[in-house]
C-alpha cells in the first residue's frame, strides 16, 4: 500500500523531526526507532484496508508530538548511558532530566549539587594549600553586627583584611574526605538513577 503525496510529506516531516530530536543516540538506534514508527503509522493508517490522509494524521496524532516521543526515548538512553559509564557529566545531565520530571528528582539534584560543590572545593583547597599556605583554607571572617562568616578560600585572591584561617594543614585530610564525598555522591546518584530508570519502565512517569 502506498501513501498519497500529502500523507508522505506529513509522515516524512514527523519522522525528520523525530530523527533530529533523537540526535545523541547511536545512529543504528535512531534508524531503528524511525523505521519502527514509520511501520506503525503505515499499519495503523491502513487498518481499514486503504490508507487515507486522515488515517495518517490520526495515527501521528495518537503518537503525540515528535518532540515528546523523542524525549521519552532520550530519557531512557541518557539514563542507561549514565548508569553504564558512571560518567559525571552524563549523571549530571540525567539528574537535571529527572528534576524536570519529578519533585523527588529535584531534591536529589539539589542534594547532589551541594555534595559535589562541597567535595570539589574542599579537594581544591587541599590541593592548593601547599601552593598558598597563608591564603588557602577555611576562613572565619567577623562581620559588622557580631556575625561571623565562614568562607572557603582557594588562595588566588588576597587574604581577607580581617579574620583568620581556622583549619591550617587539617584542610589536607578534609580535602581527601571531600574527594570521597564527591565520588560517594557519584555512586549514590548512579544507583538512584538506576532505580529511577526502573520506575520509568514500570510506567511511573506521569
Amino acid at each position: 500500500m502506498t501513501l498519497s503525496e500529502t500523507s508522505q510529506r506529513t509522515l516524512d516531516a514527523y519522522l525528520a523531526t523525530l530523527h533530529k530530536r533523537l540526535r545523541g543516540m547511536p545512529d543504528d538506534d535512531i534508524r531503528e526507532i524511525v523505521e519502527e514508527i514509520r511501520s506503525h503509522v503505515m499499519d495503523k493508517a491502513s487498518a481499514s484496508g486503504i490508507i487515507t490522509d486522515a488515517g495518517v494524521t490520526s495515527a501521528l496524532s495518537a503518537l503525540g508530538s515528535p518532540e515528546e516521543l523523542a524525549g521519552q526515548y532520550m530519557t531512557d538512553d541518557l539514563l542507561a548511558r549514565a548508569q553504564a559509564t558512571g560518567s559525571f557529566w552524563l549523571i549530571l545531565r540525567s539528574l537535571f532530566r529527572w528534576a524536570s520530571i519529578s519533585v523527588a528528582g529535584f531534591f536529589v539534584l539539589i542534594g547532589s549539587l551541594i555534595c559535589y560543590c562541597l567535595g570539589f572545593f574542599l579537594a581544591w583547597a587541599a590541593i592548593l594549600k601547599p601552593l598558598h599556605p597563608q591564603r588557602a583554607g577555611l576562613w572565619m571572617i567577623p562581620r559588622p553586627g557580631g556575625d561571623v562568616e565562614m568562607s572557603l578560600h582557594l588562595g588566588f585572591a588576597s587574604p581577607p583584611a580581617t579574620g583568620h584561617e581556622v583549619l591550617g594543614w587539617w584542610i589536607i585530610p578534609i580535602g581527601i574526605l571531600g574527594i570521597g564525598l564527591f565520588f560517594a555522591t557519584l555512586r549514590v546518584d548512579q544507583w538512584s538513577l538506576g532505580k529511577f530508570r526502573r520506575s520509568l519502565s514500570l510506567g511511573g512517569r506521569s
Binding site: 511501520s39 506503525h40 503505515m42 499499519d43 495518537a62 503518537l63 510506567g203 511511573g204 506521569s206
Partner: protein, 122 residues
C-alpha cells in the same frame, strides 16, 4: 485547581497510575504466547485488558524493556509492503513475567480479603 477538584479527580488519577503501573506486566504477558509487533501488542492490550495506552508511551517502553534484556526484536518483511519489528520475550523476560504475576496475584488476593466488607455495599 482547588482541593475539592483534587479530591473529585483523585479516583481517575489513581486509576491512571494503576494502569500505568501494570503496563510492563501487561506487555510481558501479551508476548507470552509468541512474538508480536507494536500495533499487535497495543491491540492485545486494549482487547484483553482494557488498558487504553498512549501509543507514544508503548514504543519507548518496548525499547526500554529490550535494553533491559527482557525482550528481543527482529525485523520481518510483511505482506503489507513494509517490514515490521517483532518483539519476543527473552528467558530473563519470561522469568520477570512470572515473578510479576506471582507478586500481582499475592497482592490482589490480600487486597480482595480487605475489600470483602465493601462488597456488601451496593
Amino acid at each position: 485547581m482547588t482541593l475539592a477538584d483534587l479530591v473529585r479527580d483523585s479516583p481517575d488519577k489513581w486509576e491512571v497510575q494503576l494502569r500505568k503501573g501494570c503496563l510492563e506486566l501487561a506487555i510481558l504477558a501479551s508476548l507470552w504466547s509468541g512474538r508480536l509487533y507494536g500495533l499487535e501488542i497495543l491491540r492485545r492490550l486494549e482487547a484483553d485488558s482494557e488498558l487504553v495506552v498512549s501509543e507514544g508511551t508503548v514504543y519507548p517502553l518496548l525499547s526500554r524493556l529490550k535494553a533491559l534484556g527482557l525482550l528481543t526484536s527482529e525485523w520481518v518483511e510483511s505482506d503489507a509492503g513494509h517490514p515490521r519489528k517483532y518483539y519476543a520475550l527473552t528467558p530473563a523476560g519470561r522469568t520477570r513475567a512470572l515473578e510479576m504475576r506471582s507478586i500481582w496475584q499475592k497482592f490482589t488476593a490480600s487486597l480482595d480479603s480487605l475489600l470483602a466488607p465493601l462488597n456488601q455495599e451496593k
